[in-house]
Each structure stands twice: as structure tokens, then as C-alpha cells.
């Protein structure tokens, strides 16, 4: 009995990611409990493996380059201007004079203590440089993510509810059209139209320098700088949430409980949002999680176009100045951010889905 049970468990586990999340599963409570636990464990380890791969790449790439690994890590330009003392200090810090395995240990130990290396260009620790630029990226990505998810959700519900109508067709066509624009081109177009031609938005930066603004005027100034990059990101990225909600809406509207709701005499709005909409929320939340990497890369490009002082702009400049430690540090931070948010979304998902949370 036990073996068959375990077998079915494994089968269920394997099939899990093939099914769409809305398929209900009537398994015993205990099975569900174990499954949820195993699933979370598997998910966590996937992220861990992905992280390990990035770490290894980060470690191996500069050391596999032909020639002096120190030169590969810091770049030729930095090397020319470096004092022998600094060079000796950095070599011992990276344990470059020791064996590969010792270097790897040194690398991991340094990472664990938050040491991402030394940016020669800024003459500062990489972590400190990144932390300077990070808030702006968080602001841009966060607001863009929230707005495009909510907007996509609402538009998707309205569009799916009136499938085939003029509204639906217009929304579908225009949003898919915008989605075809790469983020950076959308940014360029908005910058040209509203910045260059109309002069309505500032051309660069995140706030007016040395303005001495405080309180509300400062917030308005920040918003004024944020609005164009934000619009570019939302216009391009709203489509995935929209399309998903629309598709789920179309399927959900065919369900029996919608019929019941209508029979009960629920108002249109109640059916739309409380019945069909709520059931379309789950896939949207999952998709939001999957969207985060795209949103971050989108933000990187948009920041470059608007010279918005975030991590993307920093990455672009470090690519130009060949500041390798900084490039590595940024990429590592972004990876961690993406992996952690994905994990959080998965946890949120089990909170939102009554079937999953019930099982716990």
C-alpha cells in the first residue's frame, strides 16, 4: 500500500508542472500537505541551482580568459593606473596566487561577507556603488510592475468579458502593437515626443540637481522625472498581464458558477470582478512573478535611454568603462533579486490559492 502511495505521489509531482494551475485536485489532505512541502523544496533547490550556475560563471569566466586573470578581472585600463600596493592587496584579497579551489573558497567567503569586489572606476567597493544606484531602479521597476499588473488585470477583465466587441478588438490590437516595441525604442519615442518636441518631461536624471527641494515639491519633481520612463515600461509590459487575464476570463466565463451567479441575479460588476475576475487572479499573480526578470531587463534599457541613474544606467556605463568587477557585481545582484522575487511570488501564490493554503 505504501509503495503505491509513494508512486502516485511521485507521479503527481512530475505531472504538477504540466498542468495549468487552475485544475482542481482532489487528493487527500495528507498527500497534499506532503506535496506542497516537496514542491516548495524542489522549487527552492531550482533557484539554488540557478544561483550556483551564475556564481560559477562569475568565478570561472575571468579566470578562463587567456593571460593574467588579474587583468581579466580588473580590465587593462584599470591595471595601467594601479599602484603596486593596491595590486598586491587585491591579489591577496582574491587569493589569485593560490590554487583554483582555494580561489573559489576565497571568492565564496568574500561574497558571503558582502564583498563583491572593488570598482576601480569609482574607487569604491562594488556593493557601495550599487547600493547608491539601486533605489532608483527599485522605484522604477516596482511602480512599473504594480501599475502594469493592475492595469493589465482590469483591461483584461473588461476585454475578455466583452470578447469580440469594439473595445476588445481595439485593446487587443493596440496593446499587442505596443508590446512589439522594444522597451528602449518605446523610451526613445516617448523621449523624442514629450521631451524633445513638446519639452514636457525632463530629458535625463531622476531629480533636478541642487534644487534644494524638500517634501512635496521634491516628490513632484521625482514623479516628473519618473513619468516618462514609467510610461514606456508600462506601455510595453502591460500586455502580458492583459493577454493572460483576457484568456483566463474567456475560459472562466464558461464555468458553471458564472451561470449560478447570473441566476442569483448578481450585477454585471459583481460577476466580472468578484466571480470571474477573482478566479483569473491566480495565473496573473504567477505571471507577474515570471514577468519580473523581463521587467528588470526592460528597466535596464529604459534607464539607459533616459539617463535615469539606476542600476541599468550603471551597468551600461560599467560596460563602456570596462569596469569588470562592477559588471559582475551588478549581474550577481540582479540575479539574486530575480530569484528571490520569483520565490516570494510562489509563496504568495500558495497564499492566494485557497486550494493550496487549505492543504497546509
Amino acid at each position: 500500500m505504501k509503495t503505491t502511495w509513494a508512486e502516485s505521489l511521485m507521479q503527481d509531482l512530475e505531472m504538477r508542472h504540466l498542468e495549468s494551475p487552475k485544475v482542481g485536485w482532489d487528493v487527500q489532505k495528507a498527500t497534499a500537505k506532503i506535496l506542497a512541502f516537496l514542491r516548495r523544496g524542489a522549487l527552492f533547490s531550482n533557484h539554488l541551482i540557478a544561483f550556483a550556475i551564475i556564481l560559477t560563471l562569475n568565478f570561472l569566466l575571468p579566470r578562463m580568459m587567456p593571460g593574467d586573470p588579474f587583468q581579466a578581472i580588473y580590465g587593462e585600463e584599470a591595471l595601467l593606473a594601479m599602484t603596486p600596493q593596491l595590486k598586491a592587496e587585491l591579489i591577496s584579497r582574491l587569493a589569485l596566487d593560490q590554487s583554483m579551489s582555494q580561489q573559489f573558497v576565497a571568492y565564496i567567503v568574500a561574497l558571503a561577507s558582502g564583498d563583491l569586489g572593488h570598482s576601480y572606476f569609482y574607487n569604491q567597493d562594488v556593493l557601495a556603488v550599487i547600493l547608491d544606484f539601486l533605489p532608483w531602479t527599485l522605484l522604477l521597476t516596482g511602480t512599473a510592475l504594480v501599475i502594469s499588473t493592475i492595469l493589465g488585470f482590469i483591461l483584461g477583465i473588461e476585454s475578455g468579458y466583452r470578447r469580440g466587441s469594439g473595445l476588445d478588438k481595439t485593446l487587443l490590437a493596440s496593446l499587442m502593437f505596443f508590446n512589439g516595441f522594444p522597451d528602449f525604442f518605446m523610451g526613445i519615442v516617448l523621449l523624442l515626443i514629450f521631451g524633445v518636441v513638446f519639452g514636457m518631461v525632463p530629458l535625463s536624471g531622476a531629480l533636478t540637481p541642487y534644487s534644494g527641494l524638500e517634501g512635496l515639491p521634491l516628490a513632484i519633481d521625482i514623479l516628473h522625472h519618473l513619468i516618462a520612463p514609467l510610461t514606456a515600461l508600462v506601455l510595453v509590459r502591460v500586455t502580458s498581464a492583459y493577454l493572460l487575464t483576457r484568456n483566463t476570463m474567456i475560459t472562466t466565463l464558461k464555468e458553471n458558477f458564472i451561470l449560478t451567479a447570473r441566476a442569483k441575479g448578481c450585477s454585471e460588476g459583481q460577476i466580472k470582478y468578484r466571480h470571474a475576475g477573482r478566479n483569473s487572479l491566480l495565473p496573473v499573480v504567477t505571471a507577474t512573478g515570471l514577468m519580473i526578470p523581463h521587467m528588470i531587463t526592460g528597466a535596464l534599457f529604459v534607464e539607459i535611454v533616459f539617463s535615469y541613474p539606476g542600476v541599468g544606467w550603471l551597468l551600461y556605463n560599467s560596460l563602456l568603462t570596462r569596469d569588470y568587477p562592477l559588471i559582475q557585481g551588478i549581474l550577481l545582484m540582479v540575479t539574486v533579486a530575480v530569484l528571490v522575487t520569483n520565490l516570494l511570488v510562489d509563496l504568495l501564490y500558495s497564499k492566494l490559492d485557497p486550494r493550496v493554503s487549505h492543504a497546509r
Binding site: H17, N46, G180, P182
Partner: protein, 287 residues
């Protein structure tokens, strides 16, 4: 119910628009030497930053090069990267996903594990990292993009193969002792036609987008023309009027390629998904 998927795609407006756009871009790329008398790097006799004219449809750039010609040759790069990645990545997806489903067991579990982990990796980051060290060429770009885009497809192919595997003709072939390659290429792939095309379109779209984005960042093969590189370069001159015929057309060409691919993909996917089919019936009158 038998559904003619190709017919459905060519019938729908979205599908038609998408196919026309793709066709247009392919034609531009293929007939580039016919459509322009210049070569993309040729310094013409026309002064720099001249406006569009009879000789130069989109004017000239700062180095007196013909922008229209550069646009045409940029299409070649974009489309060949897109096409290359679509083919290679779909091939890997079929090979891994198909064999995982056919063999099952530990082999299957191993590969699905690899797929799960690879999907979690943010691909732009890995490419930027690798490209920052190894000076990229087009081939390396195709390889990198394919290496990161196959897992999603492999999952789909595996799921499809698992159901196909139980069909009569496949089990009959197995009884006769057919090898896995025979099963995969003779019995399973032919049944997956439209799904494979949908996957290829998705991969191609992503690859075209990434190629443009990366060359916009300055990560590109210096010896080839590329839309992303052109835009990055043209962006510097926004204080002049040249952006109207330099920056905008380039970005539009890129966007139209992407839109063409996503429209075709969307039409194909709606034809493939039975739940979304049935345009005519509306739920409002349905109850």
C-alpha cells in the same frame, strides 16, 4: 473535430497582418543588394546628415553612409539571428523533451531538473556577462541565445510526447522495435508541426529582441550591421533633426519585425488552444 490550423491562421486578420510583416522584412533582407546601390559602410559623396532625397531615401549619417542601406543590412543580421536561434533552440527542445518523454525514468528526471534550473536563470544577465568577456560574433550570439531558450520548449515537447506516446501508431512502431530516433523523427515530430512552428516563432521573436537590445548596449559583432547598434549610435544626435529619418525608421523596422512575429504567434496560438477557439460564439448570448 479536425481543424486546419494553417487555414485558421491565414484567415484571421491578426495572422494575416503578421505574415505580411514577416514576409516584408524577409524580402527587404534578401533583396538588400538589389534595393540599394550602396554598401552599408561605403562613405558616399553626399555630405553628412543630409535629408532624405532621391539618391538617399533616408538620408546619410555622420559618416556620409546611406542609412537606408544600413537598415536593409541590419535586417539581415536580425533575421538570421532570429532564424538561427529558432532552428537550433527548437531542435534542442525536441531532442531533450522528446527523448525525456520516450525514455522516462532517471534520464527524464535529470533533464527536467536541468530545465527547471535553466528557466530560473535570467538570460539577459548571463549573455551580458559572457559577452563582456568573449567578444561576441553572430555565431556565438546564436549559440548563447539558443542555450538559454530551449528549456521552455523542451517542457512543452515532453508533455506533448507523453500523450502521443500512448497513441496506437507509436506503440505499434515500438512493438516492431523502432529506435528512439525513428519514433521521435518519424512518428512524433510530424504530429507536432504547428506547435513546433509556434515555438520557433516565439524563440525567433525573443532572439531578434535580444540581439537588438544587446547591440544597443554595445554588445555586438563589430563587423556586421545591426539595428540596435544603429539606434545606439543615432541616439547621440537627437539634438539634430536627423532622428526623424535615422533613429525612428530603424526603431520602427525593429518593432515591425517583432510585431509581425508576435501577431503570427498569437494567431497560431489561438488556433491551437481549443479553449480560445470559436470566435463567433459569444458568451453573452450563450446562456
Amino acid at each position: 473535430m479536425h481543424v486546419d490550423i494553417w487555414h485558421e491562421v491565414t484567415e484571421s486578420n491578426v495572422g494575416k497582418a503578421g505574415l505580411i510583416l514577416i514576409g516584408l522584412m524577409v524580402a527587404l533582407a534578401v533583396f538588400a543588394p538589389v534595393l540599394s546601390p550602396y554598401s552599408p559602410r561605403e562613405n558616399t559623396d553626399t555630405p553628412a546628415f543630409s535629408r532624405p532625397s532621391e539618391e538617399h531615401w533616408l538620408g546619410t549619417n555622420d559618416a556620409r553612409q546611406d542609412i537606408w542601406t544600413q537598415l536593409l543590412y541590419g535586417a539581415r543580421t536580425s533575421l538570421s539571428v532570429g532564424f538561427g536561434v529558432a532552428l537550433l533552440s527548437t531542435f534542442i527542445s525536441v531532442l531533450i523533451g522528446g527523448t525525456a518523454a520516450i525514455f522516462g525514468g532517471l534520464y527524464d528526471r535529470f533533464w527536467m531538473r536541468v530545465v527547471d534550473a535553466t528557466i530560473a536563470i535570467p538570460d539577459v544577465i548571463v549573455i551580458i556577462l559572457v559577452a563582456a568577456y568573449l567578444r561576441p560574433n553572430v555565431l556565438l550570439m546564436v549559440l548563447l541565445l539558443s542555450a538559454l531558450s530551449w528549456p521552455g520548449g523542451a517542457r512543452v515537447i515532453r508533455a506533448q510526447t507523453l500523450t502521443l506516446k500512448e497513441r496506437m501508431h507509436v506503440s505499434a512502431a515500438r512493438t516492431f522495435g523502432a529506435s528512439w530516433s525513428h519514433l521521435l523523427f518519424r512518428h512524433i515530430i510530424p504530429d507536432l508541426g504547428p506547435i513546433l512552428v509556434a515555438m520557433m516563432i516565439q524563440d525567433a521573436r525573443r532572439a531578434v529582441f535580444m540581439e537588438a537590445g544587446l547591440s544597443f548596449l554595445g554588445i555586438s559583432d563589430p563587423s556586421v550591421m545591426s539595428w540596435g547598434k544603429m539606434m545606439q549610435y543615432a541616439r547621440v544626435f537627437t539634438y539634430l533633426e536627423v532622428w526623424k529619418w535615422w533613429l525612428l525608421p530603424t526603431g520602427l523596422a525593429l518593432s515591425l519585425t517583432l510585431i509581425g512575429l508576435s501577431f503570427t504567434g498569437f494567431a497560431l496560438e489561438s488556433a491551437l488552444d481549443p479553449r480560445l477557439r470559436g470566435r463567433g460564439e459569444s458568451h453573452e448570448g450563450g446562456i
